[in-house]
Assembly symmetry: C2
Homo-oligomer: 631 residues x 2
Amino acid sequence: MTATLADLAAQLRIDSIRCTTAAGSGHPSSSMSAADIVAVLFEKYLRFDFQRPHARNNDRFVLSKGHACPVLYSAFKAAGAIDDRELLSLRKLGSRLEGHPNPHVLPLVDVATGSLGQGLAIGVGMALTARMDGLPFRTYVLMGDSETAEGSVWEAFDKASHYQLDNLCAVIDVNRLGQSRETELGWNVEAYVARARAFGWHAIALDGHDLNAIDRAFAEAQAKKGQPTCLVCKTEKGRGYSLIANKDGWHGKPLPEDKAREAIGELGGERNVRIQVAKPDAVKGARQDAAAALTLPTYEAGEKVATRKAYGDALLALGNARPDVVALDAEVSNSTYSDEFHKAHPKRYFEMFIAEQNMVSTAVGMAVLGKKAFVSTFAAFLSRAYDQIRMAAVSNATIHLCGSHAGVSIGEDGPSQMGLEDLSMMRAVSGSTVLYPSDANQTAKLLAQVMECQGITYLRTTREKTPVLYPATEAFPIGGSKVLRHSGDDVATVVAAGITLHEALKAYEQMKREGLTVRVIDLYSVKPVDMKTLHKAARETHGRLVVVEDHWAEGGLTDAVLEAFMGERERLPTVVRLAVTKMPGSGKPAELLSAAGIDAEHIVECVTSLVEGSPRGAARGGTPEWGHTHA
Amino acid sequence: MTATLADLAAQLRIDSIRCTTAAGSGHPSSSMSAADIVAVLFEKYLRFDFQRPHARNNDRFVLSKGHACPVLYSAFKAAGAIDDRELLSLRKLGSRLEGHPNPHVLPLVDVATGSLGQGLAIGVGMALTARMDGLPFRTYVLMGDSETAEGSVWEAFDKASHYQLDNLCAVIDVNRLGQSRETELGWNVEAYVARARAFGWHAIALDGHDLNAIDRAFAEAQAKKGQPTCLVCKTEKGRGYSLIANKDGWHGKPLPEDKAREAIGELGGERNVRIQVAKPDAVKGARQDAAAALTLPTYEAGEKVATRKAYGDALLALGNARPDVVALDAEVSNSTYSDEFHKAHPKRYFEMFIAEQNMVSTAVGMAVLGKKAFVSTFAAFLSRAYDQIRMAAVSNATIHLCGSHAGVSIGEDGPSQMGLEDLSMMRAVSGSTVLYPSDANQTAKLLAQVMECQGITYLRTTREKTPVLYPATEAFPIGGSKVLRHSGDDVATVVAAGITLHEALKAYEQMKREGLTVRVIDLYSVKPVDMKTLHKAARETHGRLVVVEDHWAEGGLTDAVLEAFMGERERLPTVVRLAVTKMPGSGKPAELLSAAGIDAEHIVECVTSLVEGSPRGAARGGTPEWGHTHA
C-alpha cells in the first residue's frame, strides 16, 4: 500500500471538509460517513485507468448518493486525477466539480447523480454490458440509506438478482440520518439485509468504519458467484469530528472556518496521501462483431401498417446491422413490437418487466458504456420514468425512447393507457429530439437516423394500422416536414402528424369536393421543427394554420408550431388548435377521435369557419398586410 | 349467505366472459384468476353501501390491477349496483364501464387504475385517512403479480408498515402469467411472502381458488393488529375454462362467441346470483373539528422572503383554519417549509420520506376521501411522480402540489436539483391549475385560492429570498396577472414570473435611465393565463413581447403566452423568449441567471435590439398595421 488506509480515510474526510468550507455549501457530513468505504474501495479493489476513464475494461463506480461527491472528488485527488487547487474550486462557476457529479464537465464520472435512487439501476446496465461484452470489469454502486425509500432502488435490486449479476456490488452507507430527521429504518441494518436477501441478493451487514471488515466484505463480494452482493454498512454521519458525528442538523451544511480547522485538527491534520489505483488488464476476448449493411424494412403504398409495427421491424433491422444495438422493454414487447428484436437477438434484448424507471436508468448505464440503447413501452408509461429521462439528459447520455399507443386513437382501453402528455414531456428534455411518424416507411427511415442522434430521442408510435403514404425511397430528414397537398390557391394550411395526418388528408378530399383547397403538412419532426416550411405555408395560405394533434392542448404539436414563429422579425399567423381538451373515455378509435374533435369532420368545420369568419371577410382572397409583415 | 360462494365465483367468471366477448376486447383471463378472491371479499368481508358509495364509513376496495375490471363490474352486478344491460355495455362509447375503472363516469369506484403499481399507495392514503378520522372502515387493495415489479408498490409496502396500517389489506393475485410471458417470480409465492415480510408486513401464502382458505386469510387479516396484512394468492389465469386456464397467449383477449358459450357451459351455465353486501355501521365518534377563520401570513413591502417560506407559512395558516387540510412531504420539509405545518399539526402531517410516487398516490387516496391534500418537494423531484399525477387527473382527484427550488436560481447544487421542466409537465395535466408567484404575499393569497380549486393544482416556489413587491391587501385572482410598470409610450412588454420578474424590474429601471420605458407583467397565473392583459399589452406596446423564464425553452411561460394569442381573429405579436437553453452547472444564483441569459442585463439587451431592430425601423414609434389587426 502507498499509505495506510486509515491515513487515506482521514485525508478524504479532511479534503471533504476543506472543499465544502471553501465553497460555502455542500455535504461534508454525508461524505465523512462514506470515507472509509471509499478509501478501501479505491486503494484495494477498484481497477481504473484515470488517464483513460472510458477504457472498456475499467471498473465502474457510481456514486448514487451524489451529494456526497466531496469524498469522491477527494479520492480523485488522492489518485492524482485532479489537483488540490481544482478540489477547492468545488461548486464554483466553471468548475468541473459541481455540487453533484456531472459528466458534462467531468469525464471521470460516467453519469450524473443527485436525484436519489437511480445509481443502482444504472449499475445494473453497466453490469449487464460487461456480461454482454464478455468483459471482467466490476461495477460498484455507493448508495445512501435515505434513498432506499425510492421504489426505483427495489426495481434495480430485483433486476440485478433476476439477471444474477455477480459482477455488481452495492454498498449502502447507513448513516442513520436523512436531511430533516432520522431515516425510517435508522441503524436497523438487519432490516436492510432482510430486504436485500428477499430481493435475491447476497447481503452482508458490517461496521462501515472498520477498515478490515470493509476489506473482507469487498473480498467476499468479489468471490460471490451467481448473485449480486450488497454491503450494508453501519456508519456515522460526520464521522471523525466529534461536534457533528452522528448528530442531527448537520445535513448539507459546510463547516465554518474555525470549526473546519478544529475538525482537521481532530482528524490529525492535513496530509498528502497519494494512492495508485490499480489499472485494469488490457481487454481480452471481448466480442467485437462487425457491423453489417443496414437493410430497412419497406412497405407498399396503400398497405395498412401500424407505425408501432414498423418500429419493431426497423429495430430488428438496426439490430441485424449493428452489434452495439440493444433493446429494452417493460413487458409489453408484443404491443410495441420490440419482440421481433427479442426473437432475433435474445442476448441483446433485456426484459425489464413492468418497471419503467429501472428500464430507463439501465439503458443509461448501457449507453454511457457505448451501447445504442432502444427503450420501448406505452407512451403513457414513459411518464413513470420522467425523472430518469431528465437525469439521462443531465448525464449527457444518448438513449432512444419509443412510446407506443399514443393518444385517444388507442380506443377501448381508455385514458389510463393513452399517451397524451408525452410530446410535452419529451420536448422539455434538454437537447431532445422528438419525432412522430405517420407511416411505416417514415417510421423506419426516422429510426435509422435516430441511431445517429446524440442525446435523448423520442419516437411516438400509433396503435392503429394506418395506410402507407410514402414510397420506401422517400427521405425524411430530422428537422424536416412533408407538404402532402398544396396548390396556388390554398386558403389555409392544416398541420398534423401521426394519426391526425390521416384525418387531415380525409378532410382535404372533402373540402376539395366543396371547392376549398388547403395545404397539408406532415410535421413528423416535432423537435427540431421545420420553421422554413411553416413560414412559407403561413405566407402562401393567408396566415391561417390549423394544427391537429392527438395530445393534450398544452406542450405538443401546436406549441411547437407557435414557437416556430417566434423571433424578432416574425409575426405569428392565425393559429387554430384542434387537440384533446376533455378526459376521453372508452370507445372505438374513430369515435374517440370524433369525440375529441380531432377527426376529419372537425378539421373541415374548423377550416371552413376560419375562412368564412376571416375578419376582413376576404374568405378566399389574400390578406395583404400579411404579405408585408413577411416581406 | 344469499348463494353459495362457488356459485357466485362462477357467475363472476361467466359475466366477465360475457361482457368482454360483447365488447370484443378486454381481459377475461385476468378477471377469472381473481374471481374467487372477489367473491369471498364482497360476500363476506366488504362493508359498503352501494346507495351511498361516498359514505364515510364504507370499506374501500381498490382494484389496482385495473384491467381486471370485468370481475369488479360483475361483482357490482351481483350486488345489484348495476344491471346486466349496463354490464354488457362494457368499453362502449358513453358507457360508465370503461376499459379500466374511472370515477369520472362511475362513482362506484374512488380512483382510476390501469397504470399498474399505484393502487396500494392509494390504499395507504385511505387507511391513513381512517386512522386520522377515527373511522373503523378497512381498505382492501387487489394487485396483480406483474405489477409488483413496479418500485412504487414497494414504496407503498414500506409506508404501510411504517405507519402500522392494520386497517389495510393487500391481496396479490399470483396468476403467474404477464402480458407477454411468465412473470419474474412465477408461482414462487414464498418469494412474495418473503418480500412482504422484509418490508414489515404480515403475509400469508394461500391457494387463491380455495374459498375456505381465502375466507380464513381475510379473517386473519382482520384480526391482525399493528401490521398490514398481505394475502399472496396462488391462482390460475383464465381459471374455470380449460382451454385458456393457466395457458400463455390469452392476456387481454376476449373469447370468440363460440368459445364463450363453451366456457359458460364448462362453468355450469349462466346464473343470477344476487348478494347483499353488508352496509357499514353509521359513523360514530368520528372527529369533526370545526373550521376557524383563515388568517394568512402577511409580509412588509421590501422585506426579503423566499416564496417557499411563504408557502410554509400559508400552509400552516390553512391548517390552522381547516381541519381537513393535510400535508405530505418527501423528507425535505425543512427546505419546502412544510415543516411549519408538521410542528403545528403533527397528526395531519405525513412524512413520506424520499418516495415521491407513493407520496402523490397516498395524497390521492386521502383526497378522494375528502381531505385537502397539500404535497411538497423539490420541483425537480415531482417529475418522479408524473405518472401518478397524470393518473390523479384521470381519477378526477383534487390534490395540491408545490414544487420548490425551481430553476437555475437555486445555485450551487447544480442541474440535478433544478426544476426546469415542471411548468411544461404540469401544464400538460388535464384540468390543471399552474401558478408561479414572485412574492410572499402573492404566494399566500394564491395558496388560499388553491384550496378551493378542483383538480390538480401546482404552485412553483423559489429557493432564493426575494423582495416583497405587493401589499398584503392585494388580490391575485387565478387567471389574472399584474401590470407592475406601464406608461403611455411603452416600447415593449416584458412578461415574467417568479424569480425572473425581479430581473425584469431591474431591467425596467436600467432602461428607464436610458429613456426607454417598457411594460412589465407579472404572469403569476401560468394556467389559466390572462389573455386580456396580454392582448392589451400587445396592442399598446407595438406588439412586442419579451418573455423571460427560469425554465427550459419548451412548454413553459412562453408557450403559455403564445397560446394566449391563438384563435381565429388573433394575430400574434412579436414574441421573443429568454429561457434556459443549455445545461446549467453550479455557481451563485446571479451567475447562473446570467449564464442562462435570463437576468436583467440580458432583458435590457433583448428589448433594446428588438426595438432598434424593428423591421420598419419605427424604433419608438408605433406599428400602424399592428393597430389594425386588433382594431
